[in-house]
């Protein structure tokens, strides 16, 4: 199993409810996603340099337990779906003990070139497509 992404919650991420504002979760998920891509050998910075942009098509967030300033969380990402033009990832966020589930999410992405034209990744960059394919987790 992939190592989780570790994150400590910042003060400026809280709102006047005293908990992390819900709009900050997509940011933590992005950090986790880009960290994951680096771990599997394909840093996003390199992909952008190659002309592969991966915008977000959909995001689905399920807030189960609130999190607070100074909390430490672990996020487990996995690629769950892949086609030549699109992929999906799932995320599970746990507390410090790694036992209490705090948040789950799904993000869907497409592949576009630097002009934002849809790209068939399998055709244009088969080796990058293969890298994604090898990391699909369906369990």
């Amino acid at each position: 199993m992939t190592e989780p992404y570790y994150r400590k919650i910042n003060y400026y991420e809280t709102d006047q409810m005293g908990i992390v504002h819900h709009s900050n979760y997509p940011r933590i998920l992005e950090e986790c996603r880009l960290d994951y891509m680096e771990k599997i050998g394909f840093p996003y910075k390199k992909m952008e340099e190659m002309g592969i942009i991966i915008p977000v098509l959909e995001i689905h967030c399920y807030y189960r337990q609130s999190i607070k300033y100074d909390d430490e969380v672990y996020v487990y990402p996995k690629i769950t779906k892949l086609t030549p033009v699109r992929f999906e990832m799932e995320y599970k966020m746990y507390d410090k003990s790694k036992e209490k589930l705090l948040h789950t999410a799904v993000t869907a992405h497409c592949f576009v070139d630097s002009e934002f034209r849809p790209m068939n990744l399998k055709r244009r960059f088969p080796e990058v497509y293969e890298m994604f394919r090898e990391n699909i987790k369906t369990d």
Copy 2:
């Protein structure tokens, strides 16, 4: 039909793709939601003072067209579901012409008190519940 929420896109909401970062949409939706609650006669500030907190349980965003700095958008909100402990809202974001659909979203919320304990709104604040109920749009 409710008047839409008007919003101009800020420079700091863009990212290095040159478009609005996806994490800013939940913020625009929140602006729209709170604006809507004010329009239907129940400003959220007043609700928090009464001890009604409305955290986000779920958020579902569908990014159809990217938006850019200085763009003007109109967001149409509506309450689509309501139970004594929970409600859902839907949002449609259009461009300046109000004809091109840019983004759709759904948010789900529960009612809690100032200690974050679940609250039966219908029982505790029937007049607030009624205000929500009157504004349900099922079309």
Copy 3:
């Protein structure tokens, strides 16, 4: 005197102190600055298209009174210094009554081209330089 920039405070701009987080002021100042440039006839979007980028060199913020969710503020900007390569702006933020001073700030900027090379605005775009010069307020 220039018309002020009006702004209502958003919920997501608060932190767990219950007030607007200090990092959001530079964002409100930026909104005000870009609004001002549009008002004096030179929208920043047009400037970027011409290849004039205006990064921030310095920012100085003085937090006098805290502001809260749903507060309405007015920000008065003015250009106070200008050289062919640099300019400064000052800002005064007032409350809804326009009588209580909440915040003051200064930002310093340089002119660069789209490759981030320093630009002599007076030489390259004398008409834009002139527009800035005409709007200097030294009082």
Copy 4:
């Protein structure tokens, strides 16, 4: 010398100039400041629980070199001034090599209680005041 605060730049911190938006620096400084307080034995979370709030009075940022997505930076904080009611900190941000200076900043803070009333820290919490005093760096 205190160990610096290490930070990797996130994608969502960039703007359409392709660099980190200037409003994110105060956030990185805050992370650094709170990390520093923890390192010297007084986590801010504990201080808030004791009823010591430390709002920002002033912030002064000098942007020397832009930073980009995926950059790694080191921030060196130090307490430079202290009175019973107020203190100041200075920050120097370096690049990955710790040799290239990217940014410098100063923040000023006061001590208030949980009702935002000014507090004489030396009188109310002499041991916390002492902790600050021991860490002043005037070089």
